[in-house]
């Protein structure tokens, strides 16, 4: 059925963006057990920087691909510096403070960054300049655009690259060792400060690309976009088991799929006229549903509900997330 396929394609697209953003949450959590609520704002700033660069270059005669690439290349270092500064200025001084202090600081940083973006870019959304010829391909009754293909491919490449980095390189081993036990890793000569800073910088770099992808998919970037994107990516990380890298990827994609499928079918499934029993039992309902009319209980405006509904269900039945296992292994 083409609605099914279409929603799967849409879900994979947003899901892979969630997955890449979720990696930023999960890596930082894995190493210092901090939920960096400002990560969504870093992603937003990535999108804003890229959009500014792209808008200023658009119409200059450069090939569209070069312009977009320039935007991404400007956004990555900007976000990396932001991630580094966040850790250095806001979180490192609170490393040994009670856990609530850095958490509240993270929320504070999120607000500060949001309003910084408001001051710099204003309260109107930035539109993605129409420079790309967004071709649409037909796949078995559904449509997939070249932007969607690019987002899915790019996300897969980034996830594969990060997995390789974390599981196959020495610095990756140092990150995993620090995540398991920061004190013992220190005794083995690993400079915890460097590893922690690196996870912020890497997460922010991935987030920058994710921000550009998300913005170009919906065509706009706005100073508040980091909030809901960040919240969903955080949910994805928790869903997969926070601190677990493979879990963040799985959680992101699942969340995207559930959201898209839920949105695609909720109207159909909660259309009371579909269910004869419901319609016939009550007179006024029968009238309403006459002539094939619709009486939809929940529409696609309930999109946001599905992500969090799924999160709640997983947390009820598997509190440590789908792939999470370490609940208490602290020395």
């Amino acid at each position: 059925m083409d609605i099914l396929l279409q929603q799967i394609i849409n879900g994979l697209t947003t899901g892979s963006v969630y997955a890449v953003v979720a990696l930023g949450y999960t890596m930082v959590y894995g190493v210092i057990q901090l939920i960096n609520f400002a990560h969504g704002e870093v992603v937003m700033i990535g999108a804003m920087v890229a959009f500014s660069v792209i808008s200023s270059l658009a119409g200059g005669g450069l090939p569209p691909l070069v312009i977009v690439l320039a935007g991404v290349i400007a956004a990555i270092p900007a976000c990396m510096v932001m991630g580094y500064l966040l850790e250095r200025a806001a979180y490192r001084p609170l490393r040994h403070a009670p856990r609530l202090a850095p958490l509240i600081t993270a929320i504070g940083m999120s607000i500060i960054l949001q309003h910084l973006a408001l001051l710099v870019w204003g309260r109107n959304p930035l539109a993605f300049p129409q420079i790309i010829d967004n071709r649409v391909f037909a796949v078995g009754g559904a449509a997939i655009s070249s932007v969607q293909i690019a987002i899915i491919l790019l996300s897969l490449i980034m996830m594969a690259g990060l997995s390789w980095f974390v599981y196959r390189t020495r610095f990756g081993i140092a990150i995993r060792a620090t995540a398991e036990n920061v004190h013992v890793a220190g005794l083995m000569g690993i400079n915890a400060d460097r590893v922690i800073a690196a996870t912020f910088v890497i997460g922010a770099g991935l987030g920058a690309v994710a921000g550009v992808m998300y913005g170009s998919y919906y065509g706009i970037a706005h100073y508040t976009m980091g909030f809901s994107l960040g919240l969903k990516a955080f949910s994805a990380a928790v869903l997969g088991g926070i601190g677990n890298i493979a879990g963040a990827m799985l959680g992101g994609i699942l969340l995207g799929l559930v959201e898209a499928l839920g949105t695609g079918y909720v109207g159909d499934l909660t259309n009371l006229c579909r269910w004869p029993g419901a319609g016939e039992g009550m007179g006024w309902m029968g009238e309403r549903c006459a002539d094939g009319a619709h009486f939809v209980l929940f529409g696609s405006n309930y999109q946001e509900v599905f992500a969090f509904l799924m999160l709640i269900l997983v947390l009820v039945f598997r509190p440590s997330g789908l792939l999470g296992e370490r609940v208490s292994e602290r020395a």
Partner: protein
């Protein structure tokens, strides 16, 4: 006596109202096996944790290899040349045995993010060398065949060996072993003893905390005894064994 490797002066540590360490001073000579014994709660492990930068100290100085030891961060202590194992084994359980040892090699090699991503020729060569030397260390402690198993799947005795291999990977001058024989059976203890003697033969200095008094007195060149956070004796095993204060600390006095 040969050259002094570690010299601690007046180490003090309080936990709230409890004086865990009171003015403890000791010197460890290069190349010796130095034993630290004492009843439960005497402060042995606390002293270890101070020496390795895990606990901030409340007083005292430590000199190591002729220079003041920076006790502010664990990785600085490791860089100076002190490596340790733990009484309650603390391996990276979700990493393989080989990876655990590779973590230890981190210190003596340059492992930067940039090089790791760019995958330069030098980086690849260094990583191969690390893998090889990590494997050799596993072989040295006798668990090479478990290299690719997750650390938490190893047997208890093998985990203790892996901890020693991981500590050795940092190329320490002083290896501090916190109750390495705890929970081991007689055969495992004998093998451990052989391993520690081999380490000394290879020029390493060993600081050993141990409950197994027989093992300590048989193995160590010199022994210090802690009781209620104070050093009550420090000498060769034969003398410590017959020290009345030590006997009292272990057996109690008759009132």
């Amino acid at each position: 006596m040969s050259t002094v490797l570690l010299e601690a002066r007046g180490i003090a540590k309080r936990f709230g109202g409890v004086q865990a360490l009171k003015d403890v001073s000791l010197t460890i000579a290069s190349g010796e096996i130095y034993g630290l014994i004492g009843p439960n709660g005497a402060g042995k492990t606390t002293l270890f944790n101070v020496f390795t930068g895990l606990y901030p100290r409340d007083g005292g100085e430590v000199r190591f290899a002729g220079a003041p030891l920076n006790l502010e961060s664990p990785h600085a202590v490791a860089a100076a040349g002190i490596a340790r194992t733990f009484q309650n084994i603390r391996l990276f359980g979700n990493m393989t045995a080989l990876e655990n040892v590779m973590v230890g090699r981190h210190l003596r090699t340059r492992a930067g993010v940039i090089q790791a991503i760019l995958r330069t020729r030098a980086e690849r060569a260094e990583e191969a060398a690390i893998r090889r030397s990590a494997y050799e260390l596993l072989h040295y402690v006798g668990i090479a065949e478990r290299a690719d198993d997750l650390a938490r799947h190893l047997s208890y005795g093998d985990q203790r060996r892996l901890e020693i291999a991981r500590a050795l990977a940092t190329e320490p001058k002083l290896l501090a072993l916190d109750e390495p024989a705890a929970g081991m059976n007689a055969t495992e203890t004998a093998a451990l003893r052989g391993l520690i003697e081999g380490l000394r033969k290879d020029g390493l200095t060993v600081l050993l905390i141990e409950h197994d008094v027989k093992l300590v007195l048989g193995l160590c060149d010199r022994v210090a005894v802690l009781d209620y956070g104070e050093k009550i004796a420090e000498d060769v095993p034969e003398v410590v064994r017959s020290n009345p204060k030590v006997i009292e600390a272990y057996l109690g006095t008759s009132h």
